[in-house]
């Protein structure tokens, strides 16, 4: 890399560029993370005690989660709900991605993509607030459903997990649609025709030909959605009721309300580690390699 930069910019500028990248990476990415790792293994002490005899490394902060049943329950619920969000987002996104990639004319596809992207020019908090209004007890969705006679009294979307699930599916839908769209678009249309020609109905054509081809895209979309959902803060704080707290809210509380950065850091790492482990497991089950995802 240095020689390429040197050939292009000369050695002094090349050193400068690489130096800045190094400072940025080390100072702004790696060191803070290491500091957090360091924090997570130390007890939370008064400033006067830091560096004293009590300041020793231990796994205590990590053990807290397993001794606090409420936190553990919220932790497991967060993972489970993120799985639900991922599955729901996949169910919604796959037909859209297939339509965009194989059914729509280029003009229609461009138009639909624009419709999908424009709302994302708006800040996430505002978008989530929009859902808060839509899903409210006396909001437009309930009014519409009542008007159509689908329900006979309003649904409380915003108590419990329903609102959070809906909000998250919407928040992360693009992260699911785009990788699947890319994967399906690269499928030779003759493959679909061949399957049809050999007698396959639409369900089997998708199951045996299109989905196997799109698997890397589906995996990429699912991983992104799952990670974003598990690490989401805005959507559960706005659309969730106190009864449906997300683990990120607990981490936030440790940092900024409890003032216990050490405990917060440990919780954050636990979430990260479990999520990575979970993803690795799912990739194993569905036989997706890392190389497939990097495509």
């Amino acid at each position: 890399m240095f020689s390429q930069l040197k050939a292009r910019f000369g050695s002094s500028l090349a050193v400068g560029i690489l130096g800045m990248i190094a400072i940025w990476l080390l100072g702004m990415v790696i060191l803070p993370q290491l500091l957090m790792v360091d924090y997570s293994f130390r007890p939370n002490l008064f400033p006067s005690e830091i560096g004293g005899p009590k300041d020793v490394y231990s796994l205590g902060n990590y053990e807290t989660l397993f001794s606090n049943l409420i936190h553990l329950k919220i932790f497991l619920k967060t993972i489970w709900s993120s799985v639900l969000v991922t599955v729901l987002t996949l169910l919604v996104s796959y037909p859209i991605a297939f339509y965009l990639a194989k059914v729509a004319t280029p003009r229609q596809a461009a138009f639909c993509l624009l419709l999908l992207v424009i709302p994302f020019w708006i800040n996430e908090i505002l978008r989530t607030f929009a859902w808060y209004i839509i899903l409210a007890y006396k909001g437009p969705l309930n009014a519409m459903l009542l008007g159509m006679g689908v329900i006979d009294r309003p649904i409380r979307f915003l108590s419990g997990d329903g609102g959070v699930l809906i909000g998250m599916v919407y928040a992360y839908i693009l992260f699911m649609i785009f990788p699947i769209y890319n994967a399906i678009e690269s499928l030779d249309t003759n493959q679909v025709k061949a399957a049809r020609n050999l007698g396959a109905g639409w369900i089997r054509t998708h199951w045996r030909v299109i989905i196997p081809h799109a698997k890397p895209g589906i995996a990429t979309g699912c991983i992104m959605t799952f990670m974003l959902a598990a690490g989401s803060y805005a959507v559960p704080s706005l659309l969730g009721s106190p009864g449906s707290r997300w683990f990120t809210q607990i981490i936030y509380n440790w940092f900024f309300e409890g003032g216990d950065w050490n405990q917060g850091a440990a919780y954050a790492f636990l979430l990260l580690i479990i999520c990575i482990g979970f993803i690795a497991l799912v990739m194993r089950i569905f036989k997706v390699g890392l190389g497939d995802i990097a495509k």
């Binding site: 003759n190 396959a200 109905g201």
Partner: protein, 359 residues
């Protein structure tokens, strides 16, 4: 079983564009039938209509006497071999072949039996567990054939399946396809722009141009008695010389071709004295010696190409038109050099006169 295909007054329009002009054509049960034409002539559209990927705007496709309008592609008794083969890359060879049977709910054991039998038919025994990517071009070709035959179609549709192969393999596969057709006895409908393929394999050929069928005939008739100027110049090489009909006599027309004098050829009904017409002479029908029983075009050699078993010559006539001539290699002499005068002779019954100017 009746596996005839009837294009019953079919018209295909895409918006303002008419891809297939009104066509009525019956392909017999067990026939090897080809559609031959340049790209964009509508031959693939015809295949898509038969296979059910398109429904005609007017008229209907009938397979085995059954109307097919509204029958989706997966319910038709046809099976297609795609130009790019479209094998499923994520399945093994056997899974590819068995796919159509799996769809039909055939048991695993029966499927295995069928794929073994088909692999034997295409001479690839024991390749069932291989991945598609491990096969060579010719092998992939055969797997595509086996996969299409597995569903026991009444009609096999082939969309230029040999175009990706090299010359040797292509010639070999022609023979093999013909052999498979003979063994299975099902109707083959073959699409190609390669006249060699169409002529060697087919029982009958439909020559298409601009969405219209120009002529339907067996290969020999097509070559010897083209009905339109397009067929005459598209099927095989041909030299066309335009003129005006001066005389008609016993199926022979005499054309007044200006500087080149009077030239003759066989003519069909519908051409009258005074019409513009073109006489088509095949390169292999020329001789280099003047002969009182034959028609002669005095010319000068422009170019001589040695092609192995034969020679091709280009000669310039006095009307400054270029003619191509094909001779057996044994006829080569030292005199055949650029600029040498030759008397190109042909027999009137070897040439064909078609009404209209040469295109």
């Amino acid at each position: 079983m009746d596996s005839s295909v009837h294009l019953d007054n079919v018209v295909m329009e895409f918006g303002d564009f008419t891809a297939i002009q009104k066509t009525d054509l019956k392909i017999e049960s067990g026939e090897f039938f080809s559609f031959l034409g340049p790209s964009g002539c509508g031959k693939t559209t015809i295949l898509n209509m038969i296979s059910g990927f398109l429904d005609p705007t007017h008229g209907d496709v009938k397979i085995g006497g059954q109307a097919m309008r509204g029958v989706p592609a997966n319910k038709r008794p046809t099976s297609m071999i795609f130009q790019n083969l479209a094998l499923f890359p994520l399945m093994t060879v056997a899974e590819n072949i068995e796919f159509g049977l799996e769809v039909r709910g055939v048991s695993k054991a029966e499927r295995k039996k069928a794929s073994d039998r088909l692999l034997e038919l295409v001479a690839l025994e024991g390749s069932g567990t291989k991945k598609v990517s491990e096969l060579s071009g010719g092998q992939k070709q055969r797997i595509a054939i086996a996969r299409a035959l597995a569903v026991e179609p009444q009609v096999l549709l082939l969309d230029e399946p040999l175009s990706a192969l090299d010359l040797k393999l292509r010639q070999h596969m022609r023979i093999e396809l013909k052999e498979i057709q003979r063994k299975t006895g099902i109707t083959f409908i073959y699409i190609t722009h390669d006249q060699g393929e169409a002529l060697t394999m087919s029982d009958r050929v439909a020559v298409m141009s601009a969405g219209r069928i120009q002529q339907v005939a067996d290969p020999i008739t097509l070559y010897r008695d083209p009905k339109t100027a397009f067929v005459a110049s598209f099927v095989g090489e041909n030299n066309g010389i335009s003129g005006r009909v001066a005389q008609l006599n016993n199926g022979i027309a005499e054309l007044d071709c200006g500087v080149l004098g009077r030239l003759q050829g066989r003519v069909q009904d519908g051409v009258n004295v005074g019409d513009n017409a073109t006489v088509f002479i095949r390169p292999e029908h020329f001789r280099l010696q003047a002969d009182s029983n034959m028609l002669t075009i005095p010319s000068a050699i422009e170019e001589v190409n040695f092609e192995g078993s034969y020679l091709t010559l280009n000669a310039n006539t006095q009307a400054q038109t270029s003619l191509s001539i094909q001779l057996g290699s044994h006829q080569y002499t030292q005199d055949l050099i650029k600029g040498a005068p030759v008397s190109l002779s042909y027999r009137a019954e070897d040439a064909v006169v078609i009404g209209g100017d040469h295109v």
